[in-house]
Amino acid sequence: MTFMRRLGVVPSALVLLAASAAALAPGLLSPADPLRGDLTQRLLPPGTAHPFGTDELGRDVFTRVVHGSAPSLQAAVIAVGVAVLAGSAIGLVAGTARGRLDGLVMRAVEVLLAVPSFLLILVVVAVLGPGTREVALAVGVSAAAVFSRVMRAEVVRVRGSGYVEAAAVCGTGRVTVLLTHVLPNAAGPVAALATLELGNAVLTVAAVSFLGFGAPPPAPEWGSLVAAGRPFLASAWWLTTVPGLVVAAVALAVNHLGHVLRTRSETR
């Protein structure tokens, strides 16, 4: 049973490994230029020369997917980073201050939560302008509210614990208590949420880029690849299907691994 469960991790790990390799060293997997097409090789179905086929300008889809993974994954990671840092900071302040500041901050967070996240992302992107980094920031901001709530709840829990009280009697300063006791002990659920959010962010970043707010063409990005293939849905299915499957596979793999890590840390 445990062996089978361990075996189940392998495909997810392989997908994630391949995706990170593609993001870190795209030239290694596919040395070709993602922007250069060969017009004699237009709209070829997947085959030996082009494993994912070619697009309407004769560009190799595999190369474009590989080179598109860096901006797509980067954006997801940045988004989660922004969400964790901003959300944790807000939650830490609210949970520590309590009282009126806590109420004020948390009501603001609730307003943020009440707005549909996709709408919020579009508003932020509309203000900042399109681009991979802008999309990442927008997705991060929309996810920060959830992190701040989890962080606040954890901080409130840990602050009432015996060891925080003991530290106060020892004469440890408030800031030191916060950094050495409260933050490390509150970090667990936030880290668990972060793994969950990473899979989500991959999906959201692709969606926003699909709508055309990501990196401007011809730069490849998973979401914009799917969008670019739409006119050829009837004649060249691979242009939309293959990048879409890649997004789905990566999101699933991240979620699955995050779930495994979480359950393992919980049972320990």
């Binding site: 614990s161 060891y163 003991a166 106060a168 009697v169 020892c170 050495t180 002990n185």
Partner: protein, 513 residues
């Protein structure tokens, strides 16, 4: 005549087959009809597993790997869950350990009691049946209680409701797993009195699981002592406790706290002076009302009271965790400076940061006071660990790798680190087993002789306080109702509440003799 319950060679294991020692290892036990049998043991001795096995309530991870259990002449080991359900509630009843979590917080007493009665075969219990079930366990106004939710009841009343549910079907056997260990001693007494009374009236046999030899001595006809999964001694209560055969039983008996004897010490030099302390929490709850006491240098003052009497608030005020509403706390005539008063909390499982190494935990007050260099601090931590009887390699471990007693030693080492004048001990041993409790109390005494600090010892257990403090103060409802040298208070208690506390100590007459 066949006994009501006979257990022969019962063995229960947890986890995968062939790994580790069994939790219950070949236990033998007999309960005759109408008899109260106590199973005494420390946590981890297997007594709770035994109780759950006999009620068919073992978790899925546990397996019965050997032995025969007969109940009323019929074999019940290896029964399926359906058969158990027919037996449980009607013939065998079970009262769990923690009344705080054993009742469903979303259901009224009426709904939960009705459910229990339905299971015993009354399909639609009427109001009078419900009230009768509660009346049987000594609840004065059953009608008013039925509509309440568990959180509106005190711990003692919750335990009575659970008892009422268990006894509703007039079972032949009541299995009570530490029914009073979460309750104050005075409440413990009323609940145990009740169990005894109902058992005598209905002829119900009781299997009482407890860690407290005193409880066993007071209540049981027969006593079985368990350690490491084995029943090491079994027999009539007087015989087991009067002339114990097994070495472990003797150790348990020796570990029971003995009150300090000898003349009262002459008043020494006052160190900590608390005057007219008053604490009102936001919302108007008066926790402490005009408490005054003096703690002499290098002495121990015990503060006794039931939960909610305000003694923990005094601990929090003295350690500076909360500010008093009015009144003064003076150390050597001046307000308390950082590091001079240290604190050992009740729960050694909560008071140590789970992510820190023991070395860092012990060094925390030193870091806070910026005392010494890093190397000096490390040196001091090792000396402190030695002082509290822990090996130096513990410094690198996390609290989760330590037992409860070891954790409490770490907490004491941390309190000792800045060489304080006063250590406030808030229920320092109430979460520990009897044997560990005796060891920690001995350690505290040794440390006081060596370093000469004063202790403010706070406990709900008069026996513990009497064993460790030369003077004591009794608290009730935020006021100190009686204080004086321990020996005098025990010999001639003035306040009625003190007499009540004294009477509630389990195993009373045997103690000190």
């Amino acid at each position: 005549m066949t006994p009501l319950l006979a257990v022969r060679g019962l063995t229960v294991r947890y986890g995968p087959p062939g790994r580790g020692r069994p939790a219950v290892d070949g236990a033998d036990l007999t309960v005759e009809a109408g008899e109260i049998v106590a199973v005494v043991g420390e946590s981890g001795s297997g007594k709770s597993t035994l109780a759950h096995a006999l009620a068919g309530l073992l978790p899925d991870t546990a397996r019965v790997t050997g032995g025969v259990v007969t109940f009323g002449g019929e074999r019940v080991d290896g029964l399926r869950e359906r058969a158990w359900r027919r037996l449980r509630g009607r013939r065998i009843a079970f009262v769990p350990q923690d009344p705080g979590t054993a009742l469903n917080p979303l259901m009224t007493v009426r709904a939960q009691l009705a459910e229990a009665l339905r299971l015993t075969g009354t399909p639609r219990p009427g109001e009078d049946a419900l009230e009768e079930a509660l009346g049987r366990v000594g609840i004065p106004d059953p009608a008013a209680l039925l509509g309440r939710y568990p959180h509106q009841l005190s711990g003692g009343f919750r335990q009575r409701v659970l008892l009422g549910m268990a006894l509703a079907g007039r079972p032949a056997l009541l299995i009570a797993d530490e029914p009073t260990s979460a309750l104050d001693t005075t409440v413990q007494k009323t609940v145990l009195d009740l169990v005894q009374k109902v058992a005598a009236r209905d002829g119900t046999s009781v299997l009482l699981i407890t860690h407290d030899l005193g409880v066993a001595a007071d209540r049981a006809d027969r006593v079985a002592v368990m350690t490491e999964g084995r029943v090491v001694e079994e027999g009539p209560a007087e015989q087991v406790l009067g002339s114990p055969q097994a070495a472990y039983t003797r150790l348990l008996l020796r570990s029971a706290p003995q009150p300090l004897t000898g003349p009262a010490p002459a008043p020494g030099e006052p160190l900590l002076v608390v005057r007219d302390l008053r604490k009102v929490y936001p919302g108007g709850t008066i926790a402490v009302e005009g408490a005054s006491f003096t703690l002499d240098r290098a002495s121990t003052l015990g503060l006794v009271g039931a939960s909610g009497s305000g003694k923990s608030t005094i601990a929090r005020v003295v350690t500076g965790l909360v500010a008093p509403t009015s009144g003064s706390v003076l150390l050597d005539g001046a307000p308390v400076r950082a590091g001079r008063v240290q604190f050992v909390a009740q729960n050694p499982y909560a008071s140590l940061d789970p992510l820190m190494s023991v070395g860092r935990i012990v060094a925390e007050p030193l870091r806070a006071l910026r005392a010494g260099t890093r190397a000096e601090r490390r040196e001091r931590v090792l000396r402190l660990l030695e002082d509290v009887g822990l090996p130096p390699e513990v410094a690198r471990r996390r609290p989760s790798a330590l037992s409860g007693g070891q954790r409490q030693r770490v907490a004491i080492a941390r309190a000792l680190a800045p060489s304080p004048d006063v250590i406030v001990l808030d229920e320092p041993v109430s979460a520990l087993d009897t044997v560990t409790q005796a060891q920690i109390l001995a350690l505290l005494r040794r440390l006081q002789d060596k370093h000469g600090m004063a202790y403010l010892l706070i406990s709900h257990d008069l026996a513990v306080v009497a064993a460790a403090a030369e003077r004591l103060a009794v608290m009730r409802d935020g006021r100190i109702v009686e204080s004086g040298p321990t020996a005098d208070v025990l010999a001639a208690p003035a306040a009625p509440f003190t007499r009540e506390l004294l009477a509630a100590i389990p195993g009373g007459p045997r103690r000190g003799g």
